[in-house]
Symmetry: C2
Subunit: 481 residues, 2 copies
Amino acid sequence: MATMATPKHKPPSKHTIDALIRIVGTEHAISDASAMAPYLVEWRDRYRGKAALVLKPGDTGEVSSILKIANETRTAIVPQGGNTGLVGGQIPFESGHEVVVSLERLNRVRDIDLASNTMTVEAGLTLAQVKQVAASAGRLFPLSLASEGSAQIGGVLATNAGGMAVIAYGGARELALGIEVVLADGRVWDGLKCLRKDNSGYDLKDLIIGSEGTLGIITAAVLRLFPKIAERVTCMTGLKALDTAPDFFARALERAGPALTAFEIMPRIGIEFVLRHGSQVRDPFPDPHQWYALFELSSPREGSELAQLAETLLKQGLEAGEIADAVVASSLSQAEALWRLRELIGEVQKEEGGSIKHDVAVPVARIPEFIARADQLVELMIPGARPVPFGHFGDGNIHYNVSQPAGMERTVFLANWEALNAAVHEIVLDLDGSISAEHGIGRLKRDLLPHAKQPLEIELMRKIKAAFDSNAILNPGKLLR
Amino acid sequence: MATMATPKHKPPSKHTIDALIRIVGTEHAISDASAMAPYLVEWRDRYRGKAALVLKPGDTGEVSSILKIANETRTAIVPQGGNTGLVGGQIPFESGHEVVVSLERLNRVRDIDLASNTMTVEAGLTLAQVKQVAASAGRLFPLSLASEGSAQIGGVLATNAGGMAVIAYGGARELALGIEVVLADGRVWDGLKCLRKDNSGYDLKDLIIGSEGTLGIITAAVLRLFPKIAERVTCMTGLKALDTAPDFFARALERAGPALTAFEIMPRIGIEFVLRHGSQVRDPFPDPHQWYALFELSSPREGSELAQLAETLLKQGLEAGEIADAVVASSLSQAEALWRLRELIGEVQKEEGGSIKHDVAVPVARIPEFIARADQLVELMIPGARPVPFGHFGDGNIHYNVSQPAGMERTVFLANWEALNAAVHEIVLDLDGSISAEHGIGRLKRDLLPHAKQPLEIELMRKIKAAFDSNAILNPGKLLR
């Protein structure tokens, strides 16, 4: 996969390296190759980069000092959070000329305001820590990712991460009211507003969120907090057919409104993989179904009418011929068991050999058409390959993963990656979709972007990049060529 | 108020004017001064501009052709929707060299997708029409403004309008999934995505939304639709004191969560003004209270537990000593009567003479402190002046309006406008607030912006402006000098 041209940056001089190390102190700078290794490898081993140095600044001022020198010396900087990204945005290229800046030591909770329902946190806290701090204060921070134990909030914002609860709460961008950012030249933009409404100028916050470290380094953020969940009902249904899922979903949303806090789909083959390779799992239904929907209703109040609502939704789905069977979790452990079926799909897939992945979105109504067309294409291109499309149905976000045909040589199958991506993305774009729903562009999809966007969009993005980072030192070669 | 320097643009030549008229046809171009008048006057008569021409293009292609010529000839363009803006952004300056482009004829509903809960509409539909089309399809478009009968959706998005329901649904920016924009040089960016998740590049949509026509002209948008409301409970409370409002609000939000769809506050003097000057109004309480909160609970389901929830919230508020009295509307007409008390405040204020206005936001927890400090300041600066602070408490958005002392000469009072604004805004900024919560910057607050923002922010905004509109033809002199 690592065939992409390395951007040309000169190696930092000895003098520059010494100056950078002095900022953080020798105990927080790593230049030894083996000690740097964990910062240079993508966790699925898709990318292995090199770096001149890894720096671990202790506060925003140190990040500022680093960028000031980097900008003056044209040293390329790769900002890194928890190194859980899925598109290689956080990994330096192979030149060894770049400097990785890890935000891990910026890990303070600066403020929590329960009346305003906001908390101000630094970039290096993990998402799980942020959620834990919110929970301890009796609040919910709703963003939920498989990687939340390692993913840091700075990286979550830099990549506008999504996850399970976007349907009700929005993604990272909608959950941040303000950010503190160190710009390419080291100046600090204090955009830590705690305001729900602020129409005083261009929306710089949302421009920087999701820019994958190419416009600035997010060092802190004001996050929105929500009432904690007091009651939750988790349901899993066997669908009659995928085609009926949009109608079932639309009716659920119509009745449940904001109480519908998750709506995921899974194919039979995904459940089979989980049953085959997962531990502590069992099929909740006596008979197999081609497709399953897992949905969740939540309320900040105990004794609300969620159980009755779930019953109504399931009854209507059965009557309308949309669902074939359903289970409602009657305990927290049952709910967790249902969620486990969904969450393990991505993980167990590797037990079935190579998998070619797509993180795409299409309008909800067009999901069945997308999957039907993509499946047809896969069978045509790689007969016997096994599509395992699953994910966040309510957001139109499907992880269209394709497992290799049983018995095929893994590398032979994976040689189809780029060709299959191109063909699947063509369908996505034909359906007015996105080739990156939630994982971002990074390095993996950088050269696909010009095919997926209008030339005008790329031009505007380039102009913005030049306006923010005229020396192109911030994560060069990621997102944009 | 109209003391601001007019930006220097040359008048369009006869040749340019003829070319522009040819694009839309003579029947859709106005050059007669009296026929142009309605497009040149701000509705509260705060600004009276002049124009070389008013154009009413019929589709996106015509808008594109207009901007192409304008960009080539350096002709300044003022985009205009329903002309309901409150900061003069939609009104040309006094030079008479600018061309107003009214979007009123772009009024088609292009698409409505119930399964995906989106609708695609053109800029010239009024907000009321958009809401009506959504309602006819069994859906809710939740944005609610006093001016919704005239305000057009293009202008609503260009100014990122807020209103009553932001607390639950977000403002214009959060309610638009995609936009179609004509850029300064006439090229059309088709950003009409219907996706809830799209992480493929910089967030151009949110940059253009709220840019007040200075980065491009929005010609169409994809809007999010929500389940229609089946049940609504409206409550008005007399508060014990303003200081207890944040606690009462926080508890209401904690229990109600997304069911809390409005939370407004009003001072006694506002209610008195309404009772004195409004028609069909009465005080719902036997005794007067210094402050009132009006809140609303909504559900997409009939027979939900909202009535019981309201009762619990009021009981807890009484027990905690936060509220002194409360009424719950027992019919739609009673609910409307309560809302009328809130909605008339802005309107009836003019019966009490001049009013100096502020549209500000501070963190919710700091609203009482803000109002106390501002009131003190007003009494110091203009003894006898009567503050009437009301508005969207749940968003931290207070319309801090100040009515003149009884008997004072109106113009003498209004001569304090800029000095009072400056002093009130200083308190707002000290509390980490915004000098424009929802009305925008436009012309009214343009020269205040450099005091309210960091120089870095202004610099980044200027760079973005230059990147999008290098000839500075789009609404020049608005938002940025």
